[in-house]
Symmetry: C3
């Protein structure tokens, strides 16, 4: 189908070029006092960890499909480097709106990386079904709406800035789901949508990287870094243990299921993300990790058997139960923790203030999730217009549609 | 054999659940003043390196067998996250016995990681022959005895704490060997016990990670961190060079042998582990690295040809010559170094004190190795009782016995 | 051909042994005051990144050929650990010639690692065609001449030391090219010189590691570390985006080409290397990254179609356009930047000084590149004498010529 390919040539490069030119122009013009300053920073190792986790970890985490390895890593890489630049622009804008002094530094880069994770997660939901043009448009739209949602949370609901950044899992997962619901379903028996042991091994490699670097990710925004690291670590450890336990319990003959374990070991990191710097007792972190793993494994059963078929939804790499459900649990846990903590501090005397606090956090949570769902749906509709040349169902999950294979005769 | 599978379902998850519940309970109750405190720490990058090395590096280092990739990484992951939690409890207990103030912090986590390495090493000896139930029980028993052995060394022989932690290679290797001797031998011609070039490549990947992060591992306990880093690095570099040299010298037609090289490049790190912070001259570190590599390559010949067949011992991933022999060499080198150093300091006047020092270190070494051998043997006997459902010899080295393969039709 | 193998056995190990013995001896004798000192250092995480990048990243980056995986990583590992020790000796000598106090510390190790990159890059040009003896001799000769060239730059042209270190890409690439031109060409239809999707995936893995750690590499020598990190990061991001764009634009039907992308994403890091700490405006770094990517992609077309066939040159992993051309661009950019910057500072009053500055930098650049080409040619002639047993063309690109394959029957 050469005509279709040629069309990619006319769209992808020019779209990227346009974007990059805009970003360069912005960087050249700069907001007042932006482009001349570099801030010093001590958190370089943490930044490197996050960088590594988002580009390498998630890139290989997504490499599950048997014939989609190049695209999984390649497109993830492209979207991250594009998205980070867009995010830096948005971060600048946020700082500008707050009226603070702006700087290009590791902090700003690190915050940009955290936001881009929303895009990476959403990509997982439409993995193998969206073409690069769609993915790039999605990146732009999603980042814009994510920053709008963050700004509302920060400005009108007065949620602390690090916490609004942590809504990234929630936003990414539900945006991706709403988006995926607008893509035509792949035929059920498609061989290419399955994994092979080798592709699973690469995916395990990526998962381990994400797991190892998660404490850095959760501690890059908060102030109490060490506490965030240790709580995240404990939650991750417990959720990894629980993942093996639950996988053996729920499978047919007591065997482990790698796909489930890959999702569930990460659940603890998502669940604890909001509260990592706030928890003072290790056992709370451990309980949250355990609950995260439970909700992921149970969720993967319910979602795949009841929810998805009912809504005719296809969620290629299971972002709903890997990131969505644990993030919901984490958001609920935050409200409970804050209310209980404040309640104990005030000896339950100022119930009205407690109620207000809870209201604010629940409001931020509902606002994020509904913005994600609505904008995701709209984006899904936009992405499937004819202009963006959606991929035909028969070409789903196939590297050869996007990449040259000079070694094709050799066989995969 | 569905009956056998169902039995796993009745044992593995509940065993894990019980353990995790106990750990949670302990964390909830806490020793006096334990659970409320977090200590600040500056060694986060080193901690991440060790974390990465133990979970990722060793997990992929063990991925040699052609049909055992999932289990090698997966079980290593499970044992490490379980073991770290148990170790933290044991570390708490040690600190409590010393009468010091207890804290949950990166130091405590890092020390726990170092101890868990004993379990990882022992796993290598029974790789592919022990089922998860046996491995979990082994983890608990081994960690208990390792801490008992450390406590004896620290309390009664007055060996400094960082040094007792470094007995981890010695203990892990000989515990694993004694354990492995109680497992029925795999039939010699078993195809599944061999490696493929692809599985070797993954193993090389893991080895390089272990190699790169070893300086962090050896420097996480001592006080003079930089000296430990540089000495370890020099020892590793020389032992890597020597590994290639000796591999070409000892092979039939001057070719390199990947399996040997993988073992020998790591030998320097083991040999130097005890003395890394104590050595003041780079050339001593280099000599130790060279000797470590020599003993590993020669040992691999002797052990595989004479020792193992005589004792009917099967050591799947060669922990005896990879970790055991270099650790013995390192222990001997420690005694020599300490005696010589003290001798020079005192101008060889206080020979009785020198003798006493040497006696103490040799005592600690003998105590560790004999505890490892005896408890390993006993544990091996316990693990092979009927209750724990030892794997039948024909099911050795096979992922399909433990993992679901929905992609089975695709072929490995 | 057992006679040929036996000959390797008589050469490789003894050559390594001789070298290692010399290095040990040097370390034992020491330059005055060398061997007793360890300097403290705070840049351990950066050092680890560079260590990781050179050993792991480049090792797997080179793993493109379908039957040359073991050798790509293995020989890279061997050359790096040998080369680092030689470089430390050369660094000592440089410091001694400057009359400064000498120390064995992380700085000295890190500088040694940067220099060894020249060897790694040169290896890429003769990948699969040089045998280990040739590679080891090449390492020695190349490092010697690289240090001579650095010394000339530093001493007679008074270029700052960190900048002379950054000539490593230029020297490595053109030394490698000149060397490769002396090796007999592989027959064009050779199946073994192609890649498979699996080998490409491993290579992508390595590339991502190199990409992620590049900011650390570029910031290990300069003083203004954070500025170097952020500029490198921006250049890398833009060059990665441009790589995807240009790859789609230049390919036949708008598809991406993995081999091109792998080269071009790294171009930004090479281009910015000289000027990373000197650039004060992010947009300059971004422009340099963009230009680096453009020159790599266009270069890969021109070089592979016109230049290489005309000179009968075979450049296995494309070091000319991956490292050579971007480094030339970077060197030119340095001169322009320095002249413009000084010009603005002095309001274009001291044109003669500007001319002198430009002259010095251009001189250093020309001296480096011509030394590299001439010594590379001579080394190439030396390496192909009979004594070093050059590999026959039919045995090119084949692991089995150097490694034992006990698992051969299993198939690759």
């Amino acid at each position: 189908m050469p005509s279709r390919y040629r069309s990619f040539r006319c769209s992808v490069p020019w779209l990227i070029l346009l974007l990059q030119a805009l970003l360069l122009l912005r960087s050249f013009l700069g907001f007042p006092g932006v482009s001349d300053t570099y801030s010093p920073s001590n958190s370089y190792p943490e930044f490197q960890d996050v960088n590594h986790m988002v580009i390498f970890g998630f890139g290989f985490f997504l490499m599950v499909l048997r014939r989609y390895g190049f695209s999984s890593t390649g497109f993830n890489f492209l979207l991250v480097v594009l998205g980070v630049q867009c995010s830096m622009l948005a971060e600048d804008l946020l700082v500008f709106l707050r009226g603070e002094q702006n700087e290009v530094g590791l902090e700003s880069l690190a915050r940009a990386f955290v936001s881009v994770t929303a895009v990476v997660i959403s990509t997982g939901a439409v993995l193998g079904r969206a073409n690069p043009v769609q993915l790039i448009v999605m990146t732009l739209v999603e980042l814009t709406f994510f920053y709008v949602s963050r700004y509302i949370n920060e400005r009108f609901l007065e949620v602390p800035a690090p916490l609004t950044g942590m809504h990234v899992y929630l936003f990414g997962a539900y945006f991706g789901l709403a988006l995926a619901s607008r893509f035509p379903e792949a035929p059920p028996g498609l061989d290419k949508s399955r994994s092979t042991p080798k592709s699973e091994l690469f995916s395990v490699l990526g998962t381990v990287f994400v797991w190892v670097f998660w404490p850095s990710f959760n501690s890059i925004l908060p102030f109490l870094k060490m506490q965030a690291v240790i709580n995240t670590y404990l939650a991750l450890a417990v959720s990894a243990v629980a993942a093996f336990m639950l996988s053996a319990l729920t499978s047919k003959d007591g065997k482990f299921r790698m796909a489930q374990i890959r999702s569930a070991v990460l659940a603890g990191g998502v669940t604890i993300s909001y509260t990592a710097e706030r928890i003072h007792h290790p056992w709370i972190a451990m309980i949250l990790g355990l609950l995260g793993s439970v909700i992921t494994i149970l969720g993967s059963h319910c979602v795949q058997r009841c929810f998805n078929p009912a809504l005719k939804l296809q969620d290629t790499s299971g972002v709903h139960f890997t990131f969505g459900l644990p993030a919901v649990l984490g958001a609920v846990a935050t409200v409970v923790l804050i209310v209980v903590e404040d309640g104990i501090d005030t000896r339950w005397n100022e119930l009205s203030r407690l109620g207000y606090d809870a209201f604010v956090y629940i409001g931020a949570f509902c606002q994020t999730i509904s913005t994600a769902l609505i904008t995701g749906l709209i984006t899904g509709l936009i992405l499937n217009i004819k202009l963006l040349k959606a991929v035909h169902v028969s070409k789903y999950f196939d590297d050869q549609f996007y990449w040259e294979f000079p070694h094709l005769s050799v066989g995969f």
